[in-house]
């Protein structure tokens, strides 16, 4: 069953856009797939290697701008940016890791936050190159969403697969050992600096590619969008943590949940309240609908607080806990 489940999921994902024609939902799924990529990347450096980064937007934005600049200044199709975006992001990750990996824990997280902000500032003021706050606009290559969907799906599958392979290899063990106890690992002869660099570059590459995909799909980027601390870096962390840190499928679940929840709240439960209000004509529901959509970020924030309090290892990590809570009568035998 364990082996088949991911396959079933894959098949469903493949036929999804053919079944669900609604462009809006296709759009949401593309976002989900993009976040799977970013979340997987973050998971590698943070979940598995224990170096929590607050600056994933730096890689994302670099990838996005690579694609954008190629298209805007050199008139090369932005799709080349997918390959180069990942590489350029590694180009940012490399010196950053080299310099900042001597920092531990909270300090490293702060340094990555600083990296995020520095990149954003550079993008804002380097107008000749990045067009500053004017942003880069390109006409999307395809009108329909379906090609984008499949590209995103391919990217997501590749990311998850790649992470799976890496984590089952020797590298995976090195990463875990660094997370558990860096000094012990070092004393065993593991070159922790080297492996941290590898881990970071994997994360950067994946995230950079996602950024390039974003440029191609959205058609418009500017520094505040792609280098956003809240919308990209923190969202990446949430995807990882809500889904389940240090699990292969954590980012998959996390991406789906976070995008769904975000949009759910923004549209007032997908118009559920509006629908109910129309059905019942209840004034209370109409007002409630209005307030819910206004307070969508609030709902989101409360959810984050609750999830972290109750499911600290994420949905996949704490799955047993969820099952036990929801189906208390299903306890078979001894629970751990």
């Amino acid at each position: 069953m364990k082996k088949i489940a991911p396959l079933i999921l894959l098949i469903i994902l493949i036929i999804f856009p053919l079944v669900i024609q609604n462009a809006y939902y296709q759009h949401l799924m593309i976002l989900v797939l993009m976040w799977v990529v970013i979340g997987s990347g973050w998971n590698v450096i943070a979940g598995y290697t224990g170096q929590v980064s607050f600056g994933d937007a730096a890689f994302f934005g670099t990838g996005a701008y690579t694609a954008g600049i190629l298209a805007y200044h050199f008139h090369i199709s932005a799709w080349w940016g997918m390959a180069f975006g990942g590489i350029m992001a590694m180009g940012v990750a490399f010196p950053f890791g080299w310099i900042c990996f001597r920092l531990r824990g909270a300090y490293f997280a702060l340094a990555s936050l600083a990296l995020n902000e520095v990149c954003r500032h550079i993008a804002t003021v380097a107008e000749p190159l990045t067009q500053g706050m004017v942003g880069i606009l390109i006409m999307p290559s395809f009108l329909s969403k379906i090609p984008y969907y499949y590209i995103a799906l391919a990217l997501a599958v590749l990311s998850v697969g790649f992470v799976q392979i890496v984590m089952h290899s020797k590298w995976g063990y090195y990463f875990l050992s660094i997370r558990e106890d860096q000094d012990a690992a070092e004393s065993l002869g593991i070159n922790t600096h080297h492996y941290k660099m590898v881990s970071l570059n994997i994360a950067a590459f994946l995230t950079g590619m996602a950024g390039a995909l974003f440029m191609n799909y959205m058609g418009f980027i500017d520094p505040s969008v792609v280098f956003s601390l809240h919308d990209i870096s923190i969202m990446a962390i949430l995807v990882g943590i809500v889904g389940g840190v240090g699990t292969i499928f954590g980012p998959v679940v996390g991406a789906f949940v976070m995008v769904a929840v975000h949009e759910f709240f923004r549209t007032g439960f997908f118009g559920l309240f509006k629908g109910l209000a129309a059905l019942t004509g209840s004034d209370f529901l109409i007002v409630a609908a209005k307030y819910i959509s206004q307070a969508h970020v609030l709902g989101f924030g409360i959810l984050v607080v609750l999830v972290i309090l109750l499911l600290p290892n994420g949905i996949v990590g704490d799955w047993k806990k969820i099952v036990d809570k929801l189906f208390p009568f299903k306890k078979k035998g001894v629970s751990t």
């Binding site: 364990k2 079933i8 804002t124 003021v125 706050m133 999307p140 500017d222 969008v225 629908g275």
Partner: protein, 401 residues
Amino acid sequence: MKKSKVLVGLFLAIAVFFTFSGCGDNGEKDSIKVGIVLPLTGKLAKFGEIENKSFLMAVDEINAAGGVNGKQIELIIEDTTGKPDVGRSAIEKLITQDKVVMLGGGYSSSVTWATIAVAQQNKTPFLVNTGSADKITEQGWNYIFRLNPPVSEYPGAFESFLKTVGTDVKTVVILHENSLFGQSGSKKFAKQCEALGLKVIMKEGYEAGAIDFRPLLVNVKSKKPDVIYMISYIMDASLLMRQSKQLNMNPKLFVGGAAGFTLPEFYKNAGTASEYVYSATLWTPSVPYPGAREYYDKFVKKYNTPTEYHGAEAYSAMYVIADVLKRTKSMSRDDIRNALAETNMMTAFGPVKFISYDKKVNQNKLPTFLVQWIDGKLETVWPKEVATKGYVYPAPKWNKR
């Protein structure tokens, strides 16, 4: 076993969402749906609110008067949260899910810029009423129309003022916030200064939200410019003026590039530092267009809060939309687009007729005005024909007031 339970749970959730989203906006069967994008939350919410209220006020008036050929107009307003990517999603939802016949709104140049590409690609007519970066109508996109003047034309009245009254002005310093509005507006204005023979001795951007502009201002002061031209939103504008006063900086003119400088909050927050500050503006309640004054009074009466040029833009845009829907041959997007292109009417914001000039297409060309804060009130001072009060030039120095 674990994973399959996860998947089952996921599918159930998906199913629930899809079912319920269906019973969302059924609305009234016999109404015409128009999509409006505005920033209702986020940093730009204040302006989004003014425009939202204006749109609602206008559509209520129009529907009460019989709507469009008997049918009611239904506005579907989506929140862009002031972010370009959210704006894009919102527009897509309006076009593909709500199937609106045309689009309106468009506050904030960067969000508008991101959304018009979607509208154009989907061949849905979009009447922009606030986003002011020039390039919005410079792409040759035939589905995008703009009601308001582009930012390069904002200082029009100011320039004519300089040519007639401020002939002794020789040097300019330009300060702007680092947004699309500020960056593009400042570039255009710098070019226009050169054309006028004025020397731009300093042009600097800043991140909005700074606490202390003094290091910047003291630098400006040392250069002794004749004019300081600022492109800022409201709070930066207030701080800039307050701190200029505190530094006792006295150029011949302080001029704002609309936006923050024309809001009543500017006076509330800057207090006496707002006195004698000029600003470019696109509209004031005293402009000689029918319905301008009435719009202002109606709005204040209904919402108990003042309005300004953004609201007038929204209000008038709604009337243009209604007019287009009345004239269009059918509700197909192409027919609506053609009807939009043929618009020729008067609104509270001014005459509306879309023409092409320079690099622009489908742009409405309107004159702009110069206002000045005198005794805590925003008075129109130029052109003379529409002035409500005489201008004060040059402004007396801070310590002599």
